[in-house]
Symmetry: C2
Subunit: 610 residues, 2 copies
């Protein structure tokens, strides 16, 4: 039972659960815990020193060069090479230096070049022979910048100058002077990166001077009552003219509440947050901005815009500095949104020269294939199976959900979130269960569940688990009471298997068509990145077993974590990365599946298990 | 009694009062009455045909060529050459063509090139093979423009397209797409030009498609309760931290009320007003924008800025289109504000090659001298005499104010505003009275009022008017009751004369120093422009008589009208004129008087009457 390991960090007290083999450095980074590094987690700078205080992590060759024998015995390891394969406790030393670069994304190092700049200046005081206006006086000190000026800054200027003997700090966002603060406040500038998911919204407060995360919080999107997926929310706006306003309000409430939480947690004044970045799918983004999403929901699936115009944080209802900017991640298509573009950035899809397949598994599954030179993207309608919907015992990945299923010999082994009594089956558990049953032969290639008699012949220890509920055959994963008593049991039904087959067929058809479109073969794929909150928890072996991803070594199938949120952090930390996003948008070609004549034939081919 | 003539226009029903000799065309133009013209009032296009229906205007040489004998007999005249020297009634035919140019300012012709543009387009509808976003689709049709996009426009776009079979009108202000309207609304675009005076605020609603004014309204600035002049209003903000907010609110209330009035008068939807222009002095401008004016009020008199950053009409509380822009006229110095820059534009100070002196008479008197190549500007603190304040019987130029005073033989002739019983003396009446008394010798060069015995000797018919009130000698202009009964009498006191001497000395010192600074002589001055609401009503002869303006032919002393408002209209009608403003701002040199060592000596020299 090692499918998920727990890393407890001190002194932050934060506990994270990651797939075994993830580097401690990455696990920390994805969860907003700052560890020194200048190389970006590539094992060269030797700065990411941490101490393992509980459990064990093997010593790497680099560790031997970086530490004394005494230190090694004391548990010191380089975090970027320390792979947790069992539960561990790790102590993170305070940051030794203000890093000039921050590590985010999939081991990506981002040179700090935030759009938010501060300049502390002291101006000469005006006289009758030097009557230049306050603004001319200030801009003369900032003449290396070509600034446009916000009225807000102009309003603050006369008093800020005269309250502080003409020593002030100019606050600049992206060549725009947004405020003038009395005295020297140059050390104090923050930003918030939002991953605006249909289900979950995550906010990371970043110290833009150091690149370090100051606080991370997440919560369910308050739009949930309108439906679990984007289509139900779009439908709501089509049925009721007032729904758009309400959905926009709920998105803003979510962002505002998270903003208050991260600022409170880090004791940061929201007025020192001068920029936010937002990565979300096209529907979530349009709803948050108050743009009618209807054309996204009906053919031919048209966005209001790919790249966003200038937006203020206030336009999104985010209560930070009143003139704070919002960098809204652009979208490639109605179903390949800003979250995916952000994820591609974080995953380095534009820079890595290996042929890589990026899959964000969800109700809508986004797929990108490319080698850094050529990039294709598409979206496959996978349906709600992975979210636990339309599955008899399906549920969200919360306490009580079976997230890991293994069949060893004739034992069914389960791992349950929160170590609770099993209450249902979440997406990763569903994939595991189907893969395990295919493996032991109780599901045939067509997806038909074996009859009990057949099971009894081959796997007598499992036969009792094959039952009929009404006319439908099921496989019981967990008996709540005595074996044989279906009350409260958690099971997989024949129809659940069909649902999963439809979902995986849509996805497999998607990446297979991209493979053909790019003129390569499946065997050429060197890495598969599983992105998104669900993708990160999926077992690579099970995904291969059911044909959801290409049949390559499971070592090459990587959980990429919450790449959308990572991408949003990168764009907040660096204008260079923002330029990269624009480049990505130009370079990626969107392939529409819904008008392909061969889609249905290919889809039917992919329904079977390999 | 021909100092002011009345022109009644039909069919508008408007009645205006102007100095005799003003062209009907100019009188109409200043008051927002549109008359056809393509030459700008220079007597060449022969389009400005009007019919004199009451009173008489002589036939000009050009009229003889433009009209038949029958037409001439019927009263037809070219308005630009028709000078009203007595009360007349004039009928204005409906506009024959939409003029491509509008005439504003001092006979200036402005080629229509407003920042507000509308483009009606019909887009091809999206398909599965053409999934361009709505914005890309629209911008492709507008690819001759480099547009930035307002979020507001993006929010309107999807619905506007789909409600109207993809036929929409793009609303563009200065290369910014601010809205998208369903269908073809290209013919409908308005702007409002505001002259934001310390005392009076004037709003002109302009049809930007034709350049014609649709409505004009004025009202007292609601900031009046805080004091009559800029210094008392600045002082208020220094004494009470809440005063800035209140003054800003009152300025906005004034602008908002005028906006509602002009839109109602012309039956124009305020949402079709996409831009406003605002010309005001530096203090009025900063107060309206909510910028602390304190540094304007104390040495070294520093503005927050010369040129304004991008401002929205909403930033000024003007309830028009929510994304309407505000062009705020830049200022040259704390006391040569945006109103003067606008006035210089309207007066063509930058283009006319004659050596001209521009004087805006008021509490603060702005003076500009130049020949189009070199321009100098300064401000002279004239004090409140011209506003009727600090004058015993002083009052504003409203009903009951004596505005014209003449002494013919031994008769005192008065002209009173509103043909009412005289109640007091306004600025132009004050200047007239002093000039007349200097003329007849009852005031000597030093400003001393003759004793009654002395007057009786030389002008026995006037002697009774010389009285003592307390210890102060006065000259009675109007007896309310029996001659000799001072109850309710309107008079000029010795101290009033002193006040006027201080005011005119400050102004005369100002322009004399500019004459020296420019290296010319007073005799070189070819034209004097009297600007502002007060300047327009000043008698040129009286102004010369007391030495307020240079001693040149009164024919060369021109009432320029409300040039600030005219300038604001010009910038609203043409981006070319807006560029001219920027040029003006670069070219005009500001001369500060308050730090000149010779100012006091020169001031004392100028106290005497010539």
């Amino acid at each position: 039972m090692t499918e998920r390991v727990r890393i407890s960090f001190t002194p932050s007290g934060r506990e994270v659960r990651v797939p075994p083999g993830v580097a401690v450095f990455d696990a920390a980074s994805w969860n907003g815990i700052a560890i020194d590094s200048t190389c970006g987690g590539h094992g060269t700078c030797r700065k990411c020193r941490v101490r393992v205080t509980g459990g064990a992590i093997p010593v790497s060759a680099m560790d031997e060069r970086a530490f004394t024998a005494e230190e090694l015995a004391g548990g010191w390891r380089l975090a970027c090479l320390a792979r947790a394969r069992a539960d561990v406790a790790v102590d993170v030393p305070p940051l030794a230096t203000r890093p000039k670069a921050a590590t985010v994304g999939v081991g990506r190092q981002v040179i700090l070049r935030p759009a938010v700049q501060k300049r502390a200046v002291r101006l000469t005081e005006p006289t009758l022979t030097d009557q230049r206006s306050d603004l001319e006086r200030l801009l003369a000190e900032l003449d290396d910048l070509e600034l446009t000026v916000d009225l807000h800054a102009l309003r603050a200027l006369p008093k800020a100058l005269r309250d502080n003997d003409f020593a002030v700090t100019a606050v600049i966002v992206d060549n725009r002077l947004v405020d003038v603060e009395p005295g020297d406040t140059a050390g104090c500038r923050y930003g918030i990166a939002f991953d605006l998911g249909t289900t979950t919204v995550v906010a990371t407060l970043l110290d833009l001077s150091t690149g370090t995360p100051a606080a991370v919080r997440s919560m369910l999107n308050k739009q949930q009552p309108f439906g679990a997926d984007v289509i139900t929310r779009i439908s709501a706006t089509m049925l009721d003219p007032a729904a758009l306003g309400r959905l926009t309000g709920l998105a803003r409430d979510t962002l505002a509440e998270l903003t208050a939480e991260v600022c409170a947690e880090a004791a940061v004044d929201p007025l020192t947050v001068y920029e936010i970045a937002l990565a979300g799918n096209a529907t979530m983004t349009q709803l948050a901005l108050g743009i009618d999403p209807e054309p996204l929901g009906v053919a031919p699936f048209v966005m209001a815009t790919r790249a966003m115009p200038e937006v203020l944080a206030a336009d999104l209802g985010v209560p930070v500095h009143p003139r704070a900017r919002a960098y809204v991640h652009p979208a490639l298509g109605a179903y390949v949104g800003g979250d995916i573009i952000a994820g591609m950035l974080a995953a380095g899809m534009d820079r890595d020269r290996r042929l890589r397949l990026f899959v964000d598994v969800g109700t809508n599954c986004e797929i990108v294939l490319g080698d850094g030179r050529r990039l294709l993207a598409t979206a496959a309608p996978a349906g709600p199976a992975f979210e636990g919907a339309a599955i008899r015992c399906g549920m969200r990945a919360t306490d009580g959900a079976i997230e890991v299923v293994k069949i060893t010999g004739e034992d069914v082994l389960l791992q349950v979130i929160g170590d609770a009594e099993p209450a249902g089956l979440c997406g990763s558990g569903l994939v595991d269960a189907v893969a395990a049953l295919v493996d032991v032969g109780l599901l045939d290639a067509s997806g038909r569940l074996a009859e009990r008699a057949d099971a009894a012949r081959r796997l007598p220890g499992l036969a009792q688990r094959v039952c009929l509920i009404g006319a439908e055959r099921v496989f019981v994963l967990h008996w709540a009471g005595e074996p044989g008593d279906l009350t409260g049991a958690v099971y997989l039904s024949q129809r659940d298997v069909r649902e999963l087959q439809f979902a995986k067929a849509a996805i497999a058809t998607g990446w297979r068509l991209l493979v053909e479109e790019l003129g390569v073969t499946v065997g050429d794929i060197q890495q598969v990145l599983l992105a998104g909150s669900f993708g990160s928890y999926l077992s690579p072996a099970s995904a291969v077993r059911i044909g959801l991803v290409p049949d390559i070594s499971v070592l090459r199938i990587v959980s990429a974590g919450n790449v959308a949120g990572e991408g949003a952090k990168m764009t907040l930390l660096s204008r260079r990365e923002r330029a990269e996003v624009s480049t990505l948008l130009e370079e990626v070609r969107y392939v529409e599946l819904s008008d392909r004549r061969d889609f249905n034939d290919r889809f039917i081919e992919q329904l079977a298990f390999p």
